[in-house]
Symmetry: C2
Subunit: 410 residues, 2 copies
């Protein structure tokens, strides 16, 4: 007799999908593999020595670090973030408007707990962050995508979509957007669009989840005010993370919003993991309070700008001649490329054979069957030399596919 | 106009309940408050110096600690646990049968994701751990309780309950049990009952979630083999935690079971928090590999045994004369007392006025309206002197209520 599990899984368990990014972590550990797949920071730029300065807390404040924390998280870190975030949010929020999460991925799960009944609709950019879509779907949500322009989501299409969904009897609960250096598209939402979106949320009585993991990683131009800063009624929830600007291994993110939604998400956090790590939060708090984070940001920005520029040059050299197109991102972690006439699911398999990994566009498609000629390439994890080699391998894989296609036609 | 949240919450959000234990953490920080409420380890016994020995990893292996980990968790720690758990599990499990969670609370959430559709039934001990019931209910599960004897769950009643539920057309997905030093009841399931339960799971094709956070905190008698050790088909999932034996602030637990269920839970972990803290897992791994955990266990057992004995003496002195009864637990964190004729919801309010906190029995009741004369008292967090004072305050609160009741009658 075999075990009970397979026959007794939940409906959700039979229909959820593994994350291609998480799954590929196993593949990219193979020797010689070059990975543009994950959204991983460069290990070389982790502030190892500065972060280690906080380690004395494990001795000097050990009994507090080793004990349970409150569900809303380390007060010193929340106070730091209130001040740190003030320019971007346009105001200083209260302590009942901020709490800490186990990475910003958990913010997506807790928000879904609070908001989604089966069949509820979430409006997103199309394409969008796959692990957000997965968590929304796990909670019974249905994602409807709106395309993007160079300045982000086609906001003008939002009211008509809400109205047509409501005419069908559907509940639109919130809009999910990655405002800065969108994942995977790389574009940033313009200021006028942000204003308009805040007004739409108020007019149509929907929430906005403003996901901003990359916002502080800007290579050119000025920081833009958040959608949150234009919100007059409290409908915008802002989520930030230390994963891309400090260290993802610490699994620490933060959520800022109206006390009503913050409180409800905290209640669900009680049942999903009680509280996040007291150790990580205390180490980060001291690191930030000493001014290290503010000094660290220019370093990672300089480093990642060079890597982006390397990938730009390598792609001009190897991919442009093959007809591949892209838009240069002003910040963040990713290029989003278009490979005309080449199915990138297939290209991905060829590329893995040549020991280079990326994520195929279809993984990010909101409306099924889209983005089959796209691919997301991360440039923060690899050094410029490795980037050059990896792009050359992708070019070889594309050439191989094109040559075969020609052969079939001929 | 006010914000959108309250009007747009999910059904789950409108029906979930905050954890009384988590909520009371705010109350017990008031000056002079004595807390028997939480299940907190004593800060005095945290192995601060030994744990700090691992802190060098933040420098020497910083780039790995600060980076994303894999979803299944630190391999060295999983390997340690495979060996550490071998006697209790009766065999050495494979690496595909173990993964790490953000505390064992997360194991409950991930297991619920994998198993529960709305209306599915979970059989539990009655009373049981409230935050397990909450997470099951959040996932649409319905808990049905079976009472306990001195040697735990009345296992002989399980088959009839399954059959009657199935006759009603209900799906029984799994049985949830805290086998050792049950929370809140304090009793331990006997060996014959464990064997029988494994056989019932096989016969009736259901899963068992064997929750064992307290199992290594045994003051007298021999360790008993796990239900897992009697399971021939793979139907038992075992969950352990470092929270009670090392440090809850590190938020690290583990799950061991059949690869089918382990894999499915990992897929849900991808969408709920991607992975747990690389920092905490690495620090714990080195701490354990150096032999510190094995040396630490006798220290906390000695300390907590003394605290249990102190509470026993204090209760004999102050509570027994008032008719309060209890069974002395052989391990774990809690006394479960019965206060005849006194509603413990009301007693809790009186006790808080006198600056002593515990958790009222009703919070643990599976079948509603039960346990109204019970209370759970934690003895690991307070020193013996503080325990004496706290018990005296509870006695005063009981006397006050009894005097008023007499007054009303007279």
């Amino acid at each position: 007799m075999s075990s009970t599990w397979n026959g007794n899984f939940s409906y959700k368990a039979m229909h959820t999908r593994p994350s291609p990014v998480r799954e590929i972590l196993a593949v990219i550990k193979k020797p010689g593999m070059i990975s543009f797949a994950g959204g991983m920071p460069a290990p070389e730029v982790f502030p190892v020595n500065e972060f280690y300065e906080s380690a004395h807390l494990l001795k000097d404040n050990g009994t507090e670090l080793l004990q349970y924390g409150t569900t809303d998280g380390n007060p010193a870190l929340r106070e730091f973030l209130i001040n740190f975030m003030e320019p971007r949010l346009g105001r200083k929020v209260g302590m009942d408007q901020i709490f800490l999460t186990t990475g910003s991925q958990q913010a997506l799960d807790l928000f879904s707990w609070a908001m989604l009944d089966p069949g509820d609709v979430i409006i997103t950019e199309d394409p969008s962050y796959m692990a957000a879509m997965t968590v929304f779907m796990n909670h019974g949500g249905v994602c409807r995508g709106i395309p993007c322009d160079g300045d982000g989501l086609q906001v003008e299409k939002v009211p008509a979509l809400i109205e047509s969904l409501r005419a069908e009897g559907k509940k639109v609960k919130f809009l999910y957007t990655i405002v800065n250096f969108q994942n995977p598209g790389g574009m940033t939402m313009g200021v006028e669009k942000r204003k308009k979106l805040a007004a739409i949320a108020e007019e149509y009585d929907i929430g906005i989840f403003e996901d901003d993991p990359y916002g502080y990683v800007r290579y050119e131009g000025d920081h833009l005010p958040s959608i949150f800063s234009f919100d007059k009624v409290g409908n915008v929830l802002y989520a930030g993370s230390f994963s891309k600007i400090l260290a993802p291994g610490t699994r620490t993110g933060w959520v800022i919003g109206d006390p009503a939604i913050v409180r409800k998400m905290c209640v669900f956090k009680q049942s999903t993991d009680l509280c996040s790590s007291s150790v990580d939060q205390a180490l980060i708090a001291e690191y930030c309070q000493k001014g290290h984070l503010v000094r660290h940001l220019p370093k990672i920005i300089d480093n990642y700008r060079r890597r982006r520029d390397s990938m730009e040059e390598s792609m001009k050299r190897h991919l442009a001649p093959l007809g591949v197109t892209w838009v240069k991102p002003q910040g963040g972690f990713f290029y989003w490329i278009n490979v005309p006439g080449v199915n990138t699911d297939e290209l991905m398999k060829r590329a893995l054979d040549k020991k280079v990994a990326f994520i195929q566009g279809s993984a990010f498609a909101v409306e099924p069957g889209a983005c089959t000629n796209n691919a997301r390439l991360n440039y923060t994890y690899c050094s410029p030399e490795v980037i050059e080699e990896g792009i050359a391998r992708i070019a070889a894989a594309i050439q191989e596919m094109k040559a075969e296609a020609e052969g079939i036609k001929a």
